[in-house]
Structure formats: structure tokens, C-alpha cells
Symmetry: C2
Subunit: 143 residues, 2 copies
């Protein structure tokens, strides 16, 4: 039997990281919010008895190891979400965009079904980030 906690433990150990209670709580929070991304301030509220510094370091570690990625990065707040299994210590691979709903203010990862082509002659494209703002399907249909 493989509980969700066990799978998170495995995820950490695969990346040579220790499965500490703080890290598991952090990841469980992100997992529960899938497909919505979570801000640092929400993480801080949830982990209120954890030192700020530890959370900063945890985020940095998870980014480096390809466990989480930044979704809808703005100057005000950064949203974090779990990566899929494509990402590793080596590199991140995401073929999705980030949608911020101005109604429910949720940031979600949305899969890109068709590949998007940009006409930039003699440019080399390495990374594409797409942020869209509007009203999400839930808020739009639930009139």
C-alpha cells in the first residue's frame, strides 16, 4: 500500500532530499491545491510554526531539484505549483500556461494542447512563459 505521504517521501528521496515533516507538509499543501498554485504567504500561514528562513530555503531547494516551479511570477507575489514528473534536478520542462482568474483569484496551470509558434526570425527560443488573466471556467459557467 502506497499512501500519498509515502509517494511524497519517495519523491524527496529520489532527489537526495531528506523527508522532513516540514517538507512533507509543504508538498502536501501544494498537492492538495492542485491544479491551483499557491503563494508564499499562503504557505507561511499554513506552516505558521515554521521559521520564515526555512520556508525560503525549502522553496529554493525544491526549485533547484525540479519539484516545484514558479507559476504567474509577479513582483507582488510568486505562485508555486508542483512540477510534473518530467522535471528533474537537471532541468524543468513545462508545456503549459498559467491562468490567473480575476474572479476567484486562483492561479492554475493549463495544458497547451497545440504548440504555439512565434514568428521571430533569427531568434533562438529557449523558454516560453505565458501568463493569462481573465475569468476561469468554473467562475464563468457558474453564473
Amino acid at each position: 500500500m502506497d499512501t500519498t505521504i509515502d509517494s511524497l517521501k519517495k519523491l524527496l528521496q529520489e532527489r537526495d532530499l531528506r523527508a522532513t515533516p516540514i517538507r512533507l507538509e509543504f508538498l502536501e499543501l501544494l498537492r492538495l491545491n492542485t491544479p491551483s498554485a499557491v503563494t508564499l504567504s499562503v504557505i507561511q500561514e499554513a506552516c505558521h510554526n515554521t521559521d520564515r528562513v526555512t520556508l525560503y530555503r525549502t522553496i529554493q531547494t525544491f526549485l533547484d531539484k525540479g519539484i516545484i516551479h514558479k507559476a504567474h511570477q509577479s513582483k507582488e507575489e510568486v505562485y508555486y505549483a508542483l512540477c510534473n514528473s518530467n522535471c528533474s534536478t537537471k532541468a524543468h520542462f513545462h508545456d503549459h500556461l498559467h491562468f490567473k482568474c480575476s474572479s476567484c483569484s486562483q492561479v492554475t496551470c493549463q495544458h497547451l494542447n497545440k504548440e504555439i509558434k512565434f514568428l521571430l526570425p533569427s531568434f533562438q527560443i529557449n523558454k516560453v512563459e505565458i501568463h493569462i488573466e481573465g475569468v476561469c471556467n468554473r467562475c464563468n459557467t457558474t453564473t
Copy 2:
């Protein structure tokens, strides 16, 4: 005869803003860097005898009045660039993407020739921001 300074003065007065030396220096800096965007830290260096607070307030004013816009907004640094004449006190209108070159580290505004369609059924799209990283045409051709 219409010097560039005069045109900048006119731009400010059209938006009910006073043409102060600081504001003209600020806009001249952005104009000289076109089509590259400029970070706050670069602005601060250029206007080293201007108070930080004034620069923060100048940026906010220019954003509100549709004179500048944020290009390649990240948590670390925000890049600012002049708006085209479409933008006003009412709203910003941009149909271009922002390209960050990992070689020369310049952020440039690139026009979108063809409109990009996203397949997001029952979503309402209000704003689209596209950030691309890679190697720009100048760096790519100058091998």
C-alpha cells in the same frame, strides 16, 4: 522645430503631468534604450542624485498614465519600457511580447505579427503576457 525634449514635454502635459527635469531625464533614458526595456536599478544609477522615493513615485505615475509599461516582470527585477501612443490614462494596449536575451541580457519588446489563439474552452481571456527567453537576433547573427 520639435526637439525630442519638446516632444517628451508635450507627452507629459497631454497627461496633465508637469515637465520636471527628473521626469524628462527618466523618459529620455527610456527613449534612448528603445526597444530595450530598463530595470529600476539602471534607472537609479542614471538618476543617482534623485531620491529613491521620487523614482518609485515617478514609475507609479507613469504606469497609471499609460506612459510606461512593465516588460518581463519577475520577482527579482522589473523592466520598464515606453508605451506606444495607443496607451492612455484609461488603459494600456499592447500586442507584443517580451524577449529576454540570455547572451546580452537585454529585454526587448517584440511585435506580434499574427494573433495568437489559445484553446481554453469556457475561459474568458482579458490579458495575455508572453515572456520568451533565448538568444536575440543581434547576438545570434553576430557569431
